[in-house]
Assembly symmetry: C2
Homo-oligomer: 253 residues x 2
């Protein structure tokens, strides 16, 4: 009920048209001619929002925070966005899209090197938390109150798991499980890290940080635990730098 007019205002400039010299309007259509300055202002607002989100979080963010940070008047905000939520969705959407791209780039892992694959993935996740804890927190905040955004996040999560889920039947030919069961299993294993990373990087838990832990060590730990849960084996010892304490434990039978 607080968004009757504004989403229209928004559509006017929402189309992403990065070329500042697209002024001539080759097509004779009606519609706004965007000038370089306007495009830059919109981008400035998004950059400002990203900063504010990182520092204050989604719920504490105010329109005035964004415009002040961007160095523009309050009114201009409404020229480019309908409200804080849509701006945030756009900014965080960009953020996850970019993370997803990185994931695709990371293709330097030999076929069949499962541990390498898992480790590469976890390195990426850990580094997201380590370098942008505030934004990672905002991801959760926004997902909590915007079901659509939550779906987007989960889809992205599931997609990053898909390479494994899809290969499970071939990986375990003797196994008897449905797609759904494979998903449950992998979902559980992959979810492992979230709680730990949240409490390390976002909440900075004292007990967890009593001893400093490097990003690489965390990525390795998560990967080892994942590997153990999936294969019921330790990864090759020579691949490990930090977590021999995990693979060293054994119970007497």
């Amino acid at each position: 009920m607080n968004k009757t007019h504004s989403q229209i205002a928004n559509t006017r400039t929402a189309t992403q048209q990065a070329d500042p010299r697209a002024l001539a309007r080759a097509d004779g259509q009606a519609g706004p001619v965007r000038r370089a300055k306007g495009i830059e202002a919109r981008a400035k607002l998004k950059r400002a929002a990203m900063l504010v989100l990182e520092q204050r979080g989604y719920h504490a963010m105010r329109i005035s925070d964004v415009t002040r940070e961007a160095g523009v008047a309050t009114g201009l905000f409404y020229h480019y966005f309908s409200d804080l939520k849509s701006l945030t969705i756009e900014v965080l959407g960009d953020f996850v899209a970019q993370s997803r791209e990185l994931e695709h780039i990371e293709r330097g892992v030999p076929r069949g090197d499962w541990f390498g694959r898992i480790l590469a993935h976890n390195r990426l996740v850990v580094s997201s938390y380590a370098s942008r804890p505030g934004l990672m927190r905002c991801l959760l905040q926004l997902a909590d109150e915007e079901p659509e955004f939550a779906s987007l996040l989960r889809d992205s999560f599931v997609e990053s798991l898909q390479w494994l889920v899809a290969r499970m039947p071939k990986l375990f030919p003797s196994g008897e499980f449905t797609d759904h069961q494979a998903l449950l299993m992998v979902y559980t294993l992959a979810g492992c890290g979230e709680t730990l990373l949240r409490d390390v990087y976002i909440n900075e838990d004292r007990a967890l940080l009593r001893v400093p832990v490097s990003e690489e060590e965390l990525a390795e730990l998560l990967s080892v635990m994942f590997y153990r849960g999936l294969f019921l084996q330790n990864p090759p010892a020579e691949r490990l730098q930090f977590t021999h304490y995990v693979t060293g434990i054994a119970i007497e039978d």
Copy 2:
């Protein structure tokens, strides 16, 4: 800057004094004399808040929601609480304290039955999510913006892990690990479930719910994954009802 006066108002009635007949004020001190009716009104507000939290969540909750639900005037709210946050902290604090008690009661597990112990714990966690998804969500919401409450939650979480962490050195006598390393390991394993349970019960993810999953099955799944990660073994097959699909998978070496 919006809480100058109110925390004082609160202290008046904040002390938890459940006995309705504590009216006589045996001590001659100044202070409010509480009578049964007042105590009941306060409790009514807390019950109302619990309902609203469950249904609307913390951020959507309004003072008027609580007073309407409780059937009292808005003003009365301030007679008993300083603001929504303190009421929520109290209600959710009660909720986790109660969960903790349940955990202590669950002592019917034979010594050395590690799987039984893990399963019992997970049953409790799953059932919390299943029966009070809204409140579980609020736990996260409040923890997100109240570091003190977040600490409380984590402490409760760590405490529930402590029985295991403390026994790790004896359980794995050959192992070489510090307390901190043991904590990291167990934290990771225990964190596993949170993401899955959140997406099943709070977000009701379509992919996960495509096939209906019982509470017992989820508890078993989490327990099996935990057990595998910790012991690098499957739990005894005869203990499992649902998750043979997990223990059945094997990789050819």
